[in-house]
């Protein structure tokens, strides 16, 4: 029986890569460590619950012949000390968790830029039906469904969509954030080694949703520069015509492009902005690739209704 279980475990776990538990980036690593800490704290309350549940069910079951006379107290229904304990300890633990939640909500805020001596690479992301367009405005290149990045370098993403809402996520590197039409959300990630990492969309946006995958190619600095150089000479051109083709529903292969229009991302976002006038943008700041604020936008986060 045990052998069978172990075998089952081996079969199940062979080749398994727990992206979230075996991160390749600093953001994801912090998040993984956070999960372990939080789980441990919760365990302080939950483990005794399971123990008592099993113990009391066994000890006080009706057919327990070993029970003593004192074991049945049908009117005993109050005890202040116990109540103090099981209100007090959970409150204390939640208080600690609350502090952790507050701190990490800020330290791991997707909008927070990663501090590093290395210069940040800017990538603009447009979620389409059903592919991902990545624009590197500083480097004059663009890609579809592939995201080459240099390792150990902060990548700052500005993310939008020209399609129903998607969610940009590279589990091994860290946080996801929604890609919404007319909005510009931000995310910062960094890979601490080279490798290929899976990227997905985690919000359904139509029929091709399951195929909305991309691959992050974390490369050495030299390899990355080489790729940029070759993409800049690429015969594939990311211009309005190519974009229009990409924006029609369908799948696409991994391709690199020479970027012809530096304002492509802004055009995509502005396509939807026409509906809103000054002071109406909600959720997601409108930030130029270099981080400065867009004109005619007010940052007004959705603080509930």
């Amino acid at each position: 029986m045990i052998t069978a279980l172990v075998l089952l475990g081996v079969i199940l776990l062979r080749g398994v890569h727990f992206d979230i538990l075996q991160p390749a980036g600093d953001i994801a690593r912090q998040q993984r460590d956070l999960m372990v800490i939080v789980l441990s704290l919760i365990g302080i309350v939950v483990v005794p619950i399971f123990i008592m549940l099993g113990w009391f069910a066994w000890r006080y079951r009706e057919g327990n012949h070993k029970s003593k006379k004192d074991d049945y107290k049908p009117e005993w229904h109050e005890n202040t000390l116990l109540e103090v304990l099981w209100w007090g300890i959970p409150i204390a633990i939640i208080a600690v968790l609350a502090v952790i939640a507050w701190q990490t909500s800020h330290s791991l805020d997707p909008y927070k830029k990663i501090e590093s001596n290395t210069a940040t690479i800017e990538v603009q992301v447009v979620a389409l039906q059903w592919k991902w367009l990545f624009i590197y405005p500083q480097l004059g290149v663009a890609t579809v469904n592939k995201l080459p990045i240099p390792e150990k370098t902060p990548i700052h993403f500005t993310i939008s969509a020209d399609a129903p809402m998607s969610s940009f996520w590279v589990p091994t590197l860290g946080s996801q954030i929604y890609a919404m039409n007319g909005m510009s959300s931000q995310l910062s990630l960094i890979a601490d080694r080279t490798g290929e990492f899976a990227g997905v969309s985690s919000n359904i946006n139509g029929k091709g949703y399951s195929d909305m995958k991309f691959t992050v190619y974390s490369q050495t600095d030299a390899d990355f520069k080489a790729w940029v150089a070759s993409a800049q000479q690429s015969a594939n051109m990311m211009d309005d015509k190519t974009y229009a083709r990409l924006a029609t529903p369908g799948l696409a292969d991994e391709t690199s492009y020479m970027l012809m229009d530096n304002m492509l991302y802004d055009k995509v976002v502005n396509k939807y902005m026409h509906g809103m006038s000054h002071g109406d943008s909600t959720g997601g700041t409108h930030v130029m690739p270099d981080g400065s604020m867009m004109k005619n936008s007010d940052v007004q986060t959705m603080e509930g209704m």
Binding site: I20, D109, S167, I177, K207
Partner: protein, 655 residues
């Protein structure tokens, strides 16, 4: 022809074998039912005993029947999904087209929440609340009937979509702009909107109904702090229903206006704001899950006290915990979209509020455990369900607190980890609770118990099946698998999806056992008969009336002076009522108007979905006329003379 049949045309009939099979099967079953009713000459019985009834107990039974049938439907959907993902890995095959897959998971979620969980919930409200508070019926019996038939109309619409038109493919909450005309012009989303809108109105009215019932119809002497704790849980739930459901009505209403009248609330263009939809619908959606689970908590409070033969530990704190959960459930909704980019402060606030709810919930667990302490526990099926709940729901709570930390949620949102969490708490909390409640109160309704061993085995299979079906999903989430995928290319995921599929089959066996339990118990009802009306040696008022409970519930209105009144009355010695104690009983008459209003609503829904404008007008006018007719109806009650009551009561008690 367009004016007659709207936008319907033959292309909307199903074309793939599975949906065709369902589309043919369902009407065939309906025809079989009609044939049986005709052959056995039961139409009059159906009409007078069930369709026109305003008796809460019968309405409760109807809710339960619909809910269990929908549980089979939703479970079949789940089986389809997991069978599909078990074989759709790399090198595998797709059992269904993607469009079908997306409709199936949308239908699965919608049906489970709105028709199974809400249905079972209202079933149990109707079955137990009036009896527990010593009342004869709810405050508004006609409204009760109407609410059921609106629920029924919504259920018909969801299932009709299978036969013609197809269902929405936008998930159970239908986020725009995916569900707007731009991306989804067909009738599927409209089916989703109108079945929920119509059923939702029914739910809202039931919320009002049970709120007033609990406030105004309690037995003499039953002060609020002497009510059974299940009634308290229903009470806070009705407050949640009344405050939150209008927001669902508003969200669905605005989406329908976008789709029907070309408006721009949530469209991609002309200023529409999809994020507002997400906020508004989750402002409903979060209270909704507490609406579902709190009555389950209440049921377990009754079950544990009854089967441990011991007073519930900490009644007052249980009440305050319920009230606390009620308040907090209104300030946490944003945790469903931490990843929408609201900023660190907003995320942190909602995250902290979310984890705070864990405190009163945890307290309840401790109180149940210490009710077991120094009790004499009889592990009948309801108590076994409790044990399954305690283990399962706690795990779900752990992952919930985990995800309440925004920074962690960024990594698990919309992954299979999330799917595992919410099934964990809904199946472990809501389903186990409601199945326990059905088992617990079954004898009161029908006069015989459910077969206990089959019930326990049903629970075991549900429990094992749940673990097999959902623990692998936690692992998959941590592997970076997102939800709602119909195919994937990481071969390492395959074994996990396979184990999950096996788990769904095991759950299916559990459900099968539960249903078998019902049929078997009907067959063996003589041996399972409840002769005393108090098969569990219960503590609350419903056990003081004969089983099955008579139409009027209590022959003589009870007076209450303490918690667990019936338990202590039994110890003091139950007095036999004298002749003069019996009084005339005024009961509401049956009426067909609840049913007719429901059918008019159904027709209205069909008209709106298919753009059959003449039908919209006719059914709307009909609806209005029926309501006016009801309001003019003055002779809505009939009197049962005291002598008759006395005779029926003595006969039922064998005096």
């Amino acid at each position: 022809m367009e004016w007659l049949i709207g936008r319907f045309d033959l292309s909307y009939l199903p074309s793939d074998p599975i949906t065709m099979g369902a589309a043919i099967g369902m009407p065939l079953i309906l025809i079989a039912i009609v044939a049986a009713l005709t052959y056995f000459k039961k139409w009059k019985w159906l009409w007078t005993e069930w369709i026109t009834t305003v008796d809460a107990k019968k309405i409760g039974i109807m809710y339960a029947i619909v809910a269990i049938i929908m549980l089979i439907r939703g479970g079949a959907d789940a089986l389809m999904l997991r069978a599909s993902t078990a074989v759709s890995g790399p090198g595998g095959t797709q059992l269904f087209e993607t469009d079908t897959f997306q409709q199936v998971f949308t239908a699965h979620g919608t049906i489970m929440i709105f028709f199974v969980a809400m249905g079972l919930m209202f079933a149990l409200f109707n079955i137990a609340v009036p009896l527990m508070i010593g009342a004869r019926d709810v405050a508004f019996p006609f409204l009760n009937s109407m609410s059921f038939w609106l629920f029924f109309a919504g259920m018909i619409l969801v299932n009709a979509s299978l036969v013609v038109g197809g269902f929405s493919n936008g998930g159970w909450l239908g986020y725009p702009p995916l569900t707007e005309l731009q991306y989804n012009p067909g009738p599927g989303v409209d089916y989703w909107i109108w079945s929920l809108q119509i059923a939702g109105i029914g739910s809202l009215l039931s919320g009002v109904n049970f709120f007033v019932t609990i406030v105004k119809c309690r037995a003499k002497g039953m002060k609020l702090m002497k009510m059974p704790i299940f009634v308290w849980s229903v009470f806070v739930t009705t407050v949640l229903i009344m405050i939150s459901f209008p927001m669902l009505t508003a969200s669905l209403g605005m989406l329908s206006l976008d789709r029907l009248a070309g408006m721009h609330f949530f469209t991609s263009d002309a200023g529409g704001n999809p994020m507002m939809y997400i906020n508004l619908i989750w402002a409903w959606g979060h209270p909704e899950v507490y609406i579902l689970v709190m009555p389950a908590f209440g049921i377990f409070s009754e079950v544990v006290a009854t089967f441990a033969r011991k007073r519930l530990f900490g009644y007052k704190t249980m009440v305050w915990a319920l009230i606390a959960i009620m308040f907090f459930s209104f300030v946490v909704w944003q945790h469903h979209f931490f990843t929408m980019g609201a900023g660190a402060n907003v995320n942190a606030f909602f995250g902290i509020m979310t984890m705070v709810i864990a405190i009163p919930t945890g307290v309840k667990l401790f109180n149940w455990i210490f009710t077991m302490y120094k009790g004499k526990i009889d592990f009948k099926a309801p108590m076994v369900w409790f044990m399954c709940f305690a283990v399962t729901f706690t795990i779900g709570g752990v992952t919930g607190v985990l995800m309440s930390i925004p920074a962690i949620d960024f990594q698990v949102h919309n992954s299979m980890f999330l799917v595992a969490h919410f099934h964990n708490v809904i199946i472990g909390g809501v389903i186990f609770g409601y199945l326990a409640g059905l088992t617990y109160w079954f004898p009161k309704l029908f006069g015989f118990r459910l077969h206990d061993r089959l019930g326990r085995w049903s629970a075991y299979f549900w429990m094992v099946g749940f673990m097999l079906a959902f623990m692998p999903l936690y692992a998959l989430g941590l592997m970076g698998a997102v939800r709602r995928l119909d195919h994937y290319d990481d071969p390492a995921w395959i074994p996990f999806f396979v184990v999950s599929a096996v788990g769904v089959v095991v759950i299916g066996i559990g459900l099968g056992l539960f249903i078998l339990q019902i049929f078997y118990s009907v067959w063996k009802r003589k041996t399972l008969r409840d002769t005393t009306g108090d098969p569990w040696n219960g503590r609350t008022l419903e056990w003081s009336v004969p089983s099955p409970a008579p139409h009027y519930n209590f022959a003589i209105e009870p007076t209450v002076s303490r918690i667990d009144e019936w338990w202590y009355q039994k110890q003091d010695g139950v007095s036999v009522p004298k002749d003069k104690d019996y009084k005339d009983i005024v009961l509401p008459k049956n009426t067909s108007l609840g049913f007719l209003i429901g059918m008019a609503a159904l027709a209205l829904g069909v008209g709106l979905i298919w753009h059959i404008w003449w039908l919209v007008i006719v059914s709307f006018v009909g609806l209005v006329l029926f309501v006016i007719r009801r309001s003019m109806d003055d002779f809505t009650e009939h009197t049962l003379p005291a002598g008759e009551v006395m005779r029926m009561d003595r006969e039922a008690r064998g005096i």
